[in-house]
Subunit: 323 residues, 2 copies
Amino acid sequence: MDVNELARQLEQGERRALARAITLVESGRADHRVMAAALLDRLAGLGRQALRIGLSGTPGVGKSTFIEAFGLHLTGQGLRVAVLAVDPSSARSGGSILGDKTRMELLSRDPRAYIRPSPSQAHLGGVARRSRESVALCEAAGFDVVLVETVGVGQSETLVAGMTDLFVLLLAPAGGDELQGVKRGIMEMADLILVNKADGDLKPAAMRTVADYAGALRLLRKRPQDPAGFPRVLPVSAVAGDGIAQAWADMTALADWRRTHGHWARTRAEQARTWFEDEVRQALLARLTEDPALRARMHDTGDAVASGRRSPASAAADILSQL
Amino acid sequence: MDVNELARQLEQGERRALARAITLVESGRADHRVMAAALLDRLAGLGRQALRIGLSGTPGVGKSTFIEAFGLHLTGQGLRVAVLAVDPSSARSGGSILGDKTRMELLSRDPRAYIRPSPSQAHLGGVARRSRESVALCEAAGFDVVLVETVGVGQSETLVAGMTDLFVLLLAPAGGDELQGVKRGIMEMADLILVNKADGDLKPAAMRTVADYAGALRLLRKRPQDPAGFPRVLPVSAVAGDGIAQAWADMTALADWRRTHGHWARTRAEQARTWFEDEVRQALLARLTEDPALRARMHDTGDAVASGRRSPASAAADILSQL
């Protein structure tokens, strides 16, 4: 594979080059990692930036329907949209529940849209790294908006928030005045909360849920990266198309404010530094399993520890003194 | 400090030696780590085993009262009991909310009991490692039962379950038929669920909660390490002392069955191997921050990445090639 040629095609927005580049960064092979690093380095020089939007929502809130409606709204304005997924469950299930093109039929056929399913990787850290690099590839390919979707479980929101400029939480209408078990930590990450299914019978419940979350957001402490009125809660109906334009207007207003006030650049710089440190840590740990001789020594020493002949602490010190 | 002398005193069950040894394993100093490894190695040869019990419960379920009643029940039978804590919040709060002796007044004055508060450490991984080593020290000091308590948040249950033979979940009576937001993953770890406060006005609610969880447990898949009837739910009243003897009888029955059927030894061997591998990983990562020259290089390279001049992937590859 010629990395320079791939970079050139990708810069010109060729979809097949983008797909090949994402496959390259998703690969765990050492030679592929070297090529991926060279490609990413070269593309970093372009300085192209998309609006990166993180989107989280538990199954059943209508995430695919929302992405389809939202994505078509953007492409209808001439914007190019990429949809990526960070799917913590794909490691277990082997399959992908996010980013499935069949769930977004119109958007997947739109020439201005690119949908990439979540890679099946061994662990969430690996999925995250590859997703971050895929976001950078989509930016270099000239997409205006990169939407990174995840399902509302565990640490995946934190990972997605760490690779995006805005974080959107999609909810379904809740019964009564209960907050839907959304963890405080996730609420604190959200820039925009969208209550979907604000249509038909569910509309009153959706409006109540909007009011409940607006109240809850007022209790959170003010963040420096928020202008007046943010974080904000809006009702939307992905099926009817209601509220989609308003949601997009809010996102661009927030992004513009953050750009003007220096938060955008600062957040991106911090995120890049975190990726780098994380990459060093992951690669260092990978050495333990990649080298066959070291792997064998880890296994044998582990046997001695498992049998009770050695303490884990001294056995570990032994291994480390040999590294 | 003479490690051999410390080991000798600790083997004889001297409480001050145990306290000093735990302080040693809790230390982050490199020379202390070396001594701790030597001490643990030497004590591993003793082959002493306690029944290690993990206990989790959110604040308000009466954990301290239960530990006091349970611990006194055991010491009353002539058993020696150590109580340790894994407190994920201590890193943040700086203080210890678990293992506070003032919460267990009678037990803390019992000569057969030893209570050690949670260490204040920088991160949960560090707390976990030191707690695992403290468990090994208590075993070597001849305790019959080592109780490791944690609060029901985040990953701390998984860590505690990974260093114990039995995992007990303590709950409060819930209103109606709702399950108390206990995560499925935590339920799946539990060998015994105890519904506390089964006394006075709360007794009917406690019995309903027992029935609810018994139903929920039947839906979980059968684990090979469980005899018939386990995992099990019991009502207890720490205040009245009801159900404590039954809970202990269930724990010993389960432990005996697992010993007889090989699960005990297998689980311990797997846990020891995991500790060892974890210790190697932690120590490897610690090298990144311990060496001043490397730390400076990480910082400078991080600046280049933050400014957008380099991609995280290639910058990380650079650092790694120099290690």
